[in-house]
């Protein structure tokens, strides 16, 4: 009797060791990506030339973040097969066996619907429709259709990640203008060099998963050249933004410094051979990737500073 009960408890403990916790469901929402969504959407909302009730503004950012998280869950549901193969993603809740794919899909769909409806009710229908389009674009156009089809997958995925500041702006104003699209273009052009640098030093991951990353389809030399071209175009755009309605002296200073550093990094990456990179364990590529994180954060931070200075008559060029 005692033996039987001992065995039963052992089996039970072993059988439920991998049971999902609340944190595993939260991890389906890709909290790190969500933090970028929250920050850029907040900048979009605060840079808009209208005042927003703080509670409404908070709700708008929350629902945009939930919408972003929902698309992350749907992405994990669809990509569970390749996540299982890649080193970087094999610890995610579905490949690690903690959450069933169907659960992730249900959570993603439920949160998508909830976030879109709530954003439309909290702000305006235009913002809700924009969020719905962003989720559709990321999940259907990028994840389901083009990610496994074209080496330009990162460029397309970058578009989905670039929408939050536009949604934030639309949530505040209910209308559209050039400035949110400059913020969109900043994130859009930043994404390819950011991810291609990652692909250079996460060498076999995408290859093993069969994802047509540029490093796999066109080779590592072509990827290095692509990083330089995109960084040069990004620099023109980022510095040019300084002279728009969301720019100003603070932004211009930040943009000049960061783009000089970013261009220098991209130039060094383009000049390196694989032997150089292997010799120092991709030091330059890793450094460029880290700088890219700071690059986007500080550009949006500078836009935010300009917006926050405006009530005191200091922000912008006036």
């Amino acid at each position: 009797m005692s033996d039987a009960s001992f065995n039963a408890s052992t089996v039970t403990a072993k059988g439920y060791a991998d049971e999902a916790s609340f944190g595993d469901y939260f991890a389906l929402l890709k909290p790190r990506v969500m933090s970028l969504v929250v920050f850029t959407a907040l900048v979009g909302l605060l840079a808009a030339p209208v005042s927003v009730n703080p509670v409404v503004g908070f709700c708008a950012i929350l629902f945009i973040a939930i919408g972003g998280g929902a698309s992350g869950a749907l992405n994990m549901w669809w990509d569970a097969d390749i996540d299982k193969v890649m080193k970087r993603t094999k610890g995610r809740p579905i490949p690690s066996g903690k959450v069933e794919p169907g659960e992730a899909m249900a959570l993603g769909l439920a949160l998508s619907g909830m976030s879109v409806i709530m954003l439309a009710l909290a702000t305006n229908i235009f913002a809700g429709a924009f969020l719905a389009f962003t989720i559709f674009f990321y999940v259907v156009i990028y994840t389901m259709w083009l990610k496994r089809l074209t080496p330009q997958n990162i460029v397309i995925g970058g578009a989905a990640g670039a929408f939050p500041p536009v949604i934030g702006w639309v949530a505040a104003t209910g209308s559209m203008s050039l400035e949110p699209w400059l913020m969109f273009a900043l994130t859009f052009m930043w994404t390819p060099p950011h991810f291609w640098a990652l692909a250079l030093f996460m060498r076999t991951d995408y290859d093993d998963a069969g994802v047509p990353m540029l490093t796999v389809t066109h080779g590592r030399r072509a990827t290095r050249v692509h990083i330089l071209i995109y960084t040069a175009l990004l620099a023109i755009l980022a510095v040019g933004t300084a002279f728009s309605g969301i720019g100003g002296p603070v932004y211009l200073t930040v943009a000049l410094v960061l783009n000089a550093l970013f261009l220098r990094g991209a130039w060094r990456i383009s000049r390196r051979t694989e032997e150089d990179a292997e010799a120092d364990n991709f030091k330059v590529e890793r450094g460029f990737f880290k700088l890219s994180l700071l690059y986007l954060f500080l550009h949006f931070g500078a836009i935010l500073v300009e917006a926050l200075l405006k009530p005191f008559g200091l922000g912008g060029w006036s």
């Binding site: 916790s21 609340f22 944190g23 939260f26 509670v55 929350l62």
Partner: protein
């Protein structure tokens, strides 16, 4: 028999249930706050009152 009989499942899923409970409670607070913010704004207009003859 006690209505509050504890099961192994209750202990095992405590953190998950607590997380869901707190999330739902936070959602209620947010919706309440949003409603107050909306009806307090100057642009808010209530539904037209129909006069019954």
């Amino acid at each position: 028999m006690s209505l509050r009989k504890s099961h192994e499942l209750h202990h095992r899923r405590f953190s998950r249930n607590l997380g869901v409970g707190l999330t739902l409670a936070a959602f209620i607070v947010i919706i309440f706050g949003l409603t107050i913010a909306k009806v307090s704004s100057s642009s808010f207009t209530g539904p037209a009152v129909e006069v019954q003859n």
